[in-house]
Amino acid sequence: MNATLQTAPAARPWTTLRTVLASASWTNLLLGLGWLLALALPLLGSGLTKAFPLHLALCACTVLFWAMLGGGRLIGTTLLASRLRLPNIAQQASRQVAVALLLGVMVPTGLMAAVGDTHVALNLLVLLNALLLGLAWVSMPPWIVWVLLPLGYALDWLLDRTDNAWGTISNAPLLSLTATATLLLLAVAVFCWGMRKQPASTQWTTSIAQLLSQDRLSRNDDTSAQALFGEGTPVGHELRRHTDQALSIALGPGFGRPTARSWLRGQLPILGVAILWLLMNKQDVASTALLFIPLLVVVVAFPPMMRLHTLVRRPAQGLHEPALLPGLPRRPAKALANQLGRQMLLRAAPAVLVLAATAALLGAGSNYALVLLWSCTSALLWLHATSLFALQGRLGRALQIALMVVLPVALVATALPRPAPDWLLSAWSIAMLGGALASALALRWLGRRPHPWLQN
């Protein structure tokens, strides 16, 4: 027998660590921030005496995001490797799990202990839960979110109507609650992968991890694309006169004019969430809902931005089409900026209306709707600008990522259930002005390039 086949190559030191870090990509920065917070906040005297201190909560959040991206990619790659029948997959996977546990759980727990946090077991379990939650999340197909939301609310509703159910749960020791959650999350993740006997063939059954590994998220054959360009989608007529429409079709899902049916289908999730919130109309549900309403509005406007991002990252998916097709607008940069803005607005406007009405029915403060409108417009303007800047160059893309981190925080932080202070509107007005200026600058910059569809 060939000697090279008999002996497996020895694992090079740091290879597993490098693999885990490479998979987590930019979320390593988040994890680093989590470590820093775990160390710094207790030193600054923040909440060591509380049952669930701030540094632990923030650190758990960073671990969650780290596990979602890195874990998703690693699981996806492991699946792919097993399908390719590569050797030593189990050993590699177990080494990766060990490294992930070390980086995501052990190190931050150790850091917290080093600065005087004595709840070592609790910290360990909470961080493990965060890690497992991330893994469980990416083990499920994306549509599950629409099932989990009503299920969560239904459970809440059921517990409300069961004598002293909440009391029993909240009086249970925190440690045992966390341990139960750990087991539950582990069971969910194992169940998701254990049930999968055949390689998933459709997005409907494909987990987020597999989508990440196959890079199928936001590709033009996904369900969002089907929603926009479903059966019998019109490809327009008289396109030689309607060059903007021709361009939007060339750009693909997210840009093309949807049919009334697919447009309605796109709005259904928002309507569903709004109805659910109204049905569950309780104080805590209402205040949570009001916090997340602006974020929902902005998320609804994402498809055209994601499509543009995909085209730039994967030009083979059709970036050459708008560059080479005849009969498209003569000023492509301006046409693209207009199309992007129009599509974002077309999606966000109905969501603003529905969710502002929902907020009013949930008892939001008098100027909540105004703050909602202002904050969402500002956010959309900034997203519009960074999407255009991100068409070229690392700086533009870095700006876009930074905005993706800052915007949700700003939107949630300023969506106050109580009447908002006067300065808030002024602050969002300045942000709106800045966003409009940034959009104009992005358009000007884009107009200076030979055309916006360059692949380098």
Partner: protein, 302 residues
């Protein structure tokens, strides 16, 4: 205003020279992909671009079509800068990428209805004939096509507007041998019927030999050879010189393309026969090899 009816701009449409490149240079970071590449593709020429994987074929095609912006140099399409093509030119240019993935959300018939509106010269009956010949169902969703079918579809959509310039990036890589032959036949038909100019990249030498009138060899970012195929096979020879003679040779002979010392000390010289110094032929132990295109490619690219 209808973009298709607008005037073509400052550059007159030059159909005699569909594609031209002058001193193209492109690098990604420190990696130089194209080094001073110049190329001319007159009307009716079928140029096969060969090179190893990663030699820069797709990058060169991207620059020639204005999809990539070179750091220096310029590509011209029918007399206008490739980066600033107008509709009059775009109507006459067709491009087939290496892995066609565009318009995956449409059905074939939807795609053709869309493209038929944009290309005034869209030949619907020709498209239907090709669809039938290659057994593609117009009602089929493009996302569900196999790679080979997707490539066939991309070829049909490129041929249907009856382009004056057809640029194909590894067009046959996902096709079976029968489909490859049919494709090559269609390329030739297209070139003859419409006096179309064709540029196609490939590393399947047999395909190239079947249809190309000219061959350009891209190696390490530069064009090493660009000649009519017959002339290339006729003129380029390999000389094998004994080791004792090798040391006495000047560092570069007229017409020399490549020099390589073999393991036994023999010197292998790739040289243009027309420039071959007569005294070289008198050397004892000299061997002259006429080479096929594949051998030539391997000799240079190795």
């Amino acid at each position: 205003m209808n973009a298709l009816t607008q005037p073509t701009g400052a550059h007159a449409l030059d159909l005699s020279m569909p594609l031209q490149a002058r001193a193209l240079q492109l690098r990604y970071g420190k990696h130089e992909v194209l080094r001073d590449v110049s190329l001319q593709l007159p009307r009716g020429q079928v140029l096969g671009l060969i090179g190893r994987n990663g030699a820069g074929k797709s990058t060169l095609i991207g620059c020639l079509l204005g999809l990539l912006q070179p750091q220096s140099g310029q590509a011209m399409v029918m007399g206008a800068p490739a980066l600033d093509m107008d509709d009059a030119r775009k109507m006459r240019v067709a491009y087939v990428p290496q892995q066609p993935q565009s318009f995956a959300w449409m059905k074939i018939e939807q795609l053709f209805a869309y493209l038929g509106q944009l290309y005034p010269s869209w030949d619907r009956s020709y498209a239907d004939t090709l669809l039938k010949r290659w057994e593609l169902d117009p009602g089929r969703s493009i996302a569900k096509l196999s790679p080979g079918q997707a490539q066939r579809l991309a070829l049909i959509r490129a041929l249907a507007p009856r382009p004056a310039l057809l640029v194909l990036d590894e067009p046959a890589s996902a096709l079976d041998p029968i489909a490859r032959r049919e494709l090559m036949r269609d390329i030739i038909e297209q070139a003859i019927d419409n006096e179309a100019t064709v540029l196609f990249s490939s590393h399947i030498i047999s395909d190239l030999e079947r249809v190309a009138s000219h061959v350009a060899l891209l190696h390490r970012g530069g064009i090493m050879l660009n000649q009519p195929l017959d002339e290339l096979k006729e003129r380029i020879v390999r000389l094998l010189l004994p080791a004792v003679v090798a040391e006495s040779l000047p560092p570069c002979l007229p017409g020399e393309l490549l020099r390589r010392q073999l393991n036994d000390g023999t010197l292998s010289l790739l040289i243009d026969k027309q420039n071959l110094p007569g005294e070289l032929l008198l050397i004892d132990g000299l061997r002259v090899d006429h080479m096929g295109l594949e051998d030539l490619f391997i000799e240079i690219a190795e």
